[in-house]
């Protein structure tokens, strides 16, 4: 009974024992006595130096899940991180955090982590050893190897990468910085066109017109959070304006689904399009700048039309619009920067931006973004490995054995190295081949810093006792140096922490800070030091070598389809595949979770006579993979696409043997980068079938007005959605008469008054939410935040197949148009969560009052009272109630993953209903604090996890009864509507209709 509800409820108390057992950190933190490792941490926003049991302590740190370098706030309880949120002061992400970043928590507590240093036995098995032993072994091997040492590391730039560089140099070895999706073509193009191989920053916020050539700037390319923020400002109907986004690529990714127009151009033809646009601009300016006029003359819209399949008229119109909107912005990335002609594409886009006068406006050089060394370097290393020129290889923050196409033969070359060492936290494919595992600390366990861009120095600090017997990579280097001596002897800092501090002392000097203590203290509190980025570096067109060129990229392989693989929005290059959140929270585009799929266009599907779930065999000379079909309206019929990220052969229980790795199909790259669009594939039906683990039911609105839209003109006139429909001659909603409304509302109030729980019309707050669909990009950050905040279990593939995923907050993706061939298709995203109806259908049907209405307007759900009749779920028109069919609470968090659980939220046991609570634990927390201070709650003092995470700030939460609150004002917004309003359930969530630009003739 009640106990059953909470048999495995992990709350603060239980955690203490658990933590006491695991790390000792928790128990010690509670007893206020510190172990020396944590005592000097400076909590953020909390006066006390000790953790206060029962209250959260926040630490500022830096995200290392990708090389963008966002600032995070780590919410800890009893010395244990329980949630990651963005750091509002950090210039890169301004308080937001993407799904991949939030999932770092599951990396920290991952059951697949290497528990301590290990050495490989002759029989191939691993054997645990002591750190001293491990250090000694490595030192010895380094001694033998002399200068025949190689280091492969990630692209992150900071004190550690500097140290690593010096260290390798001191050994006379070579260092290769490897990124799966490196941006070599862009840098090459910049070198070519502007004489600078820097990567610029793109200011989408300023842009009034955006053309993206395959760049998924909202999700997997560049600095997504920063770009999403800018995009929301430009495209979110702020100040009544909507900057048009045109997306030119053979396949729509998340950015494409948010575009106002999709140009499904032929794969590899981006350059032709960009050059033609530039040509139109130049010619219409009477051939200025002269230098370019000649270079561009050849690239007429006619040619481009021929190459891309986009009508010449459209191209010309595009060019004019692009020029007319100042400033505009053209981006090349993703698939456009991933084929043989990629450098040409990027060069062409540079020229286009230059011609339109965007350089220095929306394209800002001088940010000194970190960059990897490109593929050639790694290929070179592989060659010398094959030649036996490498005695010792050290792999750090990289998994090349997985991320290199099999055809490159990197794995074999790697095997040839005499002594292979990995500092990976997990036993990934590369580590699995190594002879020595020196697991480093997780980013949340160590001191470190990152320099994501000029002027930004971002700190990391340990926020908990190490979960396992690991060391900071820096300390590994230093201790090895001391052991090995010789050339390494000069790396004699007592610890990496000390080394870091000394570097920061130097930095303080550079920045003219006299008082280092204050400087350091401040940096820790704010998560780093943020200086104004240098003014946009002036770059000029290097005319002589800006020879605009376009050649149709040659494709290898045979077959009728061009093959394209792209970074998985959740798993990225596969590094997310060991984190249950990222596996279970469905890909925002296809809404498929847990397994691989192959995207086939509707036309192609008809041609091949395949349907969703039918297993296709894709083969190229390099290899063969099998995956189920997803018929995707957002892809050309001559292209098939697969996401990267699955098909791991190692990397922990969650990842292993799940899905397939499309890299097996690619040929060995010859140039500076890996072209992910480089081959044709032969497609064969296997006749086998599997159900897709998709969270989508029917992806059409069927005219039910769930994700509403309003034309730009109407929105600017301040019309409501309804009026807009009527104006457009479509009688849409039936408006209830005043009397009707009064009657039912009166009835609803009576219902409430009748209950004994107090006064529903009194001074209580009424919690409400507003969601602006003009800004929502469907990126999933809110969903992940909800999972993290509310202890939502991941139920696994076989349960998702039964539609039993527990996503309190889900993002519904509805298709618009695209029903007949040729008709343009677009997507609508709508976050769907409990609407906390004032007149909720779920409440009266619950026989035990487990679902009931609270005085502050919440739709309460009392887990320990619920007997599980599930009538509430049947009667919920939004279908946002989720049932614990099994003991998910005992399956979802294998130790030590359970340490991530939020102690403020009950973990639901089998047999009870659960749903969005508007983060009631945060509400109660704020109320408790306000009560202590004898004050009312201030608007914006706290917010829900989803609202906090949303990169484009489309979710606003607050007390609608306070007329000055943001949410109250938004609730009055003319664009506001309520989903299924005619049912008169009176939802507390107001959606703001998406603003649509006029469709093209």
């Amino acid at each position: 009974m009640a106990d059953e509800t909470t048999a495995s409820t992990l709350d603060r108390r239980k955690f203490l024992t658990v933590l006491g057992a695991t790390t000792g950190g928790g128990a010690l933190a509670l007893s206020g006595c510190s172990t020396g490792k944590v005592e000097k941490l400076v909590p953020y926003l909390v006066q006390s130096e000790d953790q206060i049991p029962g209250l959260a302590t926040w630490y500022a740190s830096t995200c290392t899940e990708c090389s963008t370098g966002c600032g995070v706030h780590v919410r800890t309880r009893e010395g244990r991180p329980v949630k990651l949120e963005g750091n509002p002061e950090h210039p890169v992400n301004r308080g937001k955090l993407c799904s991949r970043g939030q999932a770092a928590l599951q990396g920290l507590y991952n059951p697949g982590r290497v528990k301590g240093p290990m050495a490989r036995n002759p029989d191939g098995s691993f054997q645990a050893i002591t750190w001293d032993d491990a250090i000694a072994r490595l030192a010895a091997k380094l001694g033998e190897a002399g200068s025949r040492v190689a280091v492969i590391s990630g692209a992150g730039r900071g004190t550690f990468s500097d140290l690593l560089g010096d260290w390798t140099a001191a050994l006379g070895g070579r260092l290769v910085r490897h990124e799966t999706f490196d941006r070599e073509p862009e840098r090459a193009a910049n070198r070519q066109v502007f004489g600078s191989d820097q990567l610029p920053l793109y200011d989408l916020g300023k842009a009034r017109y955006i053309v993206s050539f395959g760049a998924d700037f909202l999700d997997t390319w560049g600095a997504p959070l920063e770009q999403a923020r800018g995009f929301a400002a430009a495209h979110g109907f702020e100040g009544g304006q909507v900057a048009k986004l045109v997306y030119a690529a053979p396949r729509m990714d998340l950015t494409g689904l948010n575009a106002d127009q999709w140009l499904p151009i032929k794969p590899g033809s981006e350059a032709a399009l960009a050059l033609a646009m530039a040509q139109v601009l130049v010619s219409e300016r009477g051939g200025q700048p002269a230098g370019l006029a000649g270079a561009l003359a050849a690239y007429t819209p006619a040619l481009a039309a021929e190459e891309t399949g986009v009508p010449a008229a459209t191209i010309e119109r595009l060019a004019r619009e692009f020029a007319a909107a100042r400033p505009s912005l053209a981006l090349a990335g993703g698939v456009a920067a991933q084929h043989a002609g990629a450098t040409e594409v990027c060069a062409a886009v540079n020229i286009l931006n230059f011609v339109a006068g965007n350089i220095g406006e929306t394209v800002r050089f001088g940010a000194e973004l970190p960059a990897a060394d490109g593929h050639a370097a790694l290929a070179g290393l592989a060659r010398s490995m094959n030649a036996g020129e490498v005695g010792v290889v050290l792999v750090h923050d990289a998994n090349p054995v997985y991320t290199q196409p099999r055809a490159t033969g990197f794995a074999d070359a790697f095997r040839k190295v005499g002594y292979k060492v990995s500092t990976s936290l997990y036993l990934d494919e590369t580590a699995a081949l190594c002879d020595l595992l020196l697991p480093q600390h997780h980013a949340l366990e160590r001191w470190d810093d990152l320099r994501p861009r000029a002027g930004v120095y971002s700190l990391m600090q340990p926020v908990l006792e190490p979960v396992f017997d690991t060391l900071p990579a820096g300390d590994i280097l230093l201790r090895v140096s001391q052991k090995a001596g010789g050339a390494l002897a000069r790396f004699n800092a007592p610890s990496y922490e000390a080394h870091l501090k000394s570097r920061w002392q130097a930095l303080a000097g550079e920045l003219g800070e006299s008082d280092f203590a204050a400087f350091w203290h401040g940096a820790l509190q704010r998560g780093g030091v943020y200086r104004e980025p240098p003014a946009a570096g002036a770059v000029s067109l290097a005319l002589e070598n800006a020879q605009a060129s376009y050649t149709r990229p040659a494709l290898g392989g045979e077959g009728e389809f061009t093959f394209l693989t792209y970074p998985h929005p959740m798993l990225y290059d596969g590094r997310g595949a060991n984190k249950p959140w990222l596996l279970e929270i469905a890909d925002p585009v296809t809404k498929i979770s847990w397994h691989s799929w192959v995207e086939v266009g509707p036309g192609a599907a008809r041609r091949l006579d395949v349907r969703d779930g039918e297993i296709l065999e894709l083969s190229t000379p390099q290899g063969t993979v099998e995956a189920p079909v997803f018929v995707y309206p957002g892809i050309r019929d001559d292209v098939v696409a697969m996401p990267l990220g699955l098909g791991h052969t190692a990397y922990g229980a969650f990842a292993e043997g799940r899905g397939v790795n499309p890299l097996d199909l690619l040929a060995a790259p010859s140039g500076e980068y890996v072209p992910y669009l480089s081959t044709r594939v032969a497609v064969r039906k296997t006749g086998r079938y599997r159900k897709l683990a998709s969270v989508a039911g029917v992806a059409r609105q069927l005219g039910r007005g769930i994700a509403e839209s309003i034309p730009l003109a109407a929105a600017q006139k301040g019309l409501t959605v309804e009026q807009a429909y009527i104006e457009a001659g479509l009688g849409h909603h039936e408006v209830n008469t005043e009397r009707e409304l009064e009657a039912v509302h009166g009835w609803a109030e009576e219902q409430h008054e009748a209950t004994q729980y107090g006064n529903y019309e009194g001074e209580n707050p009424q919690w409400a939410m507003a969601i602006d669909l003009a800004k929502c990009t469907g990126c999933n950050a809110c969903v992940t935040a909800c999972y993290a905040e509310n202890n939502i279990p991941t139920v696994g593939e076989e349960q998702v197949l039964k539609g039993r995923e527990m996503t309190w907050l889900r993002i519904e993706r509805y298709w618009e148009g695209g029903e007949e061939p040729g008709e343009p298709v677009s997507a609508r995203f709508v976050p769907m969560l409990c609407q906390h109806c004032a007149n909720a259908p779920c409440e009266p049907v619950c026989p035990v009052y487990a679902a009931y209405h609270t005085p502050d307007g919440l739709n309460g759900q009392v887990y320990n009272r619920c007997v599980g009749t599930r009538y509430c779920a049947n009667n919920c028109p939004y279908k946002v109630r989720y049932f614990n069919w099994y003991k998910y609470n005992e399956r979802a968090w294998p130790a030590p993953l359970h340490l991530q659980l939020n102690p403020d939220v009950t973990v639901r046991a089998r047999g009870v209903m659960e749903k969005c609570t508007f983060c009631i634990q945060r509400i109660r927390g704020a109320q408790n604090q306000a009560r202590l201070e004898d004050r009312p709650i201030r608007d914006g003092e706290f917010t829900t996890a989803c609202a906090q995470a949303c990169p484009s700030d489309c979710i606003v939460f607050g007390n609608v009864r306070d007329p000055s609150s943001r949410v109250a004002r938004l609730a009055q917004n003319p664009r506001g509507y309520r989903v299924l309003e005619d049912l008169n359930v009176r939802p507390a969530i107001t959606y703001l209709a998406k603003v649509l630009l006029p469709a093209e003739a």
Binding site: G697, V698, G703, K802, P841, F883, N884
Partner: protein, 456 residues
């Protein structure tokens, strides 16, 4: 001049051959003789099936409801379907035994005992399901109002609470009615048997002597009990129908539901009566007491009536959906016929609406084989009616993104079969323990031996 309204009990040929009270008692008591091999096998079979269901239930309790085929948004499926099915079965019993008694319709006498028994056990079966289907079965008692220091009471606004009361009331009343009606017969048996059985039946017959006084009180009390049971036929299934009707689920939210469900209940009930009696009368060798021309013909007419009401109700549902202009209703009913659950939808319409129409023909009504086959169709059809109403409606309500379909799993079928085993077990045990045909009421219908003159 013989104005005996009903024909005397007779053999199939219809000629009245007078039978003495003694014969009746003999025949009926004969049904309680040592069980045949077939009977024993049947009993063991149903017991085994029941145990299988019990095992399934234990797994559900230990591990969770997930083993059943539930697939959101379908949060109710086979269990609630079967619950409504069994509640429905019960109704025919009460109708025949109570209402027809009040209407003095003589043909009921031979069958009412068996139908009453069916009612009680059907309700006993149904009563299990509210417990089986909830997520935390061990706290089902939270649905009952009982004083507690936590100031917690059930929500009397919830139809599920109404259900609890409806079912328990129904069980109490019909059980009392059955037991009460048994007393004189048990006494009759008592007088025929010997040894320990005599003692047992003696106790069960609570000192019945058959004195005029006892008879006078008895028949009066029986009348009142019948009057008490009668409204339940209407009320209970109306309440059950409100489990659905008060919700806002398209396909559930209909004012037609109460009468529609009651008709359906009686229809399915009689279906089950036929399924049970046709073999039973042979097994117990009481063919001459329950005859096609008379009893089955009447049962069949009742079936035809209720079946036709259902036919009308089905039509009306579709009409209302179309006429209301309500997008959601329309989608639901369109998909009921042409959506993923078309097969269930058509099974229900064919088995109930169409098959019942065969009963317009007397040939069919009096042909036991035909009736038996039709009764099977009725049972299947009525189960599917509930399946369609529940599952098909839930599978496509308001938000298309949430739409999905389910496939029942072994756990669903296990419980369904188990419920039949449970029911069959009790019914068989009863048939061998107590007179399945009401002795004293049949006796009442035998004309008193009187002097006849004129022909010799």
């Amino acid at each position: 001049m013989a104005v005996v309204a009903p024909p005397p009990v007779g053999h199939g040929d219809g000629h009245a051959i007078t039978q003495t009270h003694a014969d009746v008692t003999r025949d009926v008591v004969a049904t309680l003789s040592a069980p045949s091999r077939g009977y024993v096998l049947l009993l063991l079979g149903s017991a085994a099936v029941f145990l299988m269901g019990l095992l399934t239930f234990l797994i559900l309790v230990i591990d969770g409801l997930g083993h059943a085929g539930y697939q959101p948004p379908i949060f109710w499926s086979v269990y609630i379907t079967t619950f409504v099915f069994w509640v429905g079965i019960g109704h025919a019993g009460t109708l025949i035994s109570a209402i027809l008694f009040l209407f003095r319709s003589p043909w009921r006498t031979a069958v009412y005992r068996s139908t009453e028994v069916m009612t009680v056990f059907a309700v006993m079966t149904a009563a299990l399901f509210p417990i089986i289907h909830i997520g935390r079965q061990w706290i089902f008692y939270w649905l009952l109002p009982y004083p507690n220091q936590r100031y917690l009471w059930p929500n009397f606004k919830s139809p599920l609470i109404w259900d609890v009361f409806a079912i328990s009331t129904y069980f109490t009343v019909s059980a009392t009615f059955l037991v009460f009606g048994l007393v004189p017969d048990v006494a009759a048996v008592r007088d025929k048997v010997t040894g320990w059985r005599k003692t047992v039946y003696g106790l069960a017959s609570v000192g019945w002597q058959g004195t005029d006084n006892q008879w006078r009180h008895y028949s009066r009390a029986y009348l009142y009990l019948a009057a008490l049971a009668t409204p339940l036929v209407l009320s209970v299934h109306s309440v059950v129908s409100w489990d659905f009707a008060v919700s806002i689920v398209p396909g559930w939210h209909g004012t037609i539901f109460a009468p529609y469900f009651v008709a359906g209940a009686i229809y399915s009930g009689i279906g089950m009566v036929l399924t049970l009696i046709i073999p039973l009368r042979r097994a117990l060798r009481i063919e001459h007491m329950i005859t096609p021309e008379y009893h089955f013909d009447n049962l069949a007419k009742l079936t035809l009536l209720t079946g036709s009401i259902l036919f009308y109700a089905y039509g009306m549902e579709y009409f209302v959906a179309w006429y209301s202009g309500n997008m959601f209703e329309q989608t639901t009913f369109y998909r009921r016929a042409f959506g993923p659950y078309w097969w269930a939808g058509w099974t229900m319409i064919i088995c109930n609406a169409f098959v019942s129409q065969l009963l317009w023909f007397r040939k069919v009504r009096t042909n036991l084989t035909a009736l038996f086959i039709i009764s099977i169709f009725i049972n299947v059809g009525m189960w599917f009616e509930r399946f369609v109403i529940i599952v098909s409606s839930l599978s496509n309500d308001y938000v298309p993104w949430a739409w999905d379909q389910l496939n029942p799993s072994w756990a669903d079928w296990g419980i369904l079969a188990g419920s039949f085993g449970w029911f069959g077990m009790w019914f068989l045990l009863f048939a061998k323990t107590f007179p399945i045909v009401a002795i004293q009421e049949i006796k009442e219908m035998i004309p008193m031996p009187r002097k006849r003159g004129g022909h010799h």
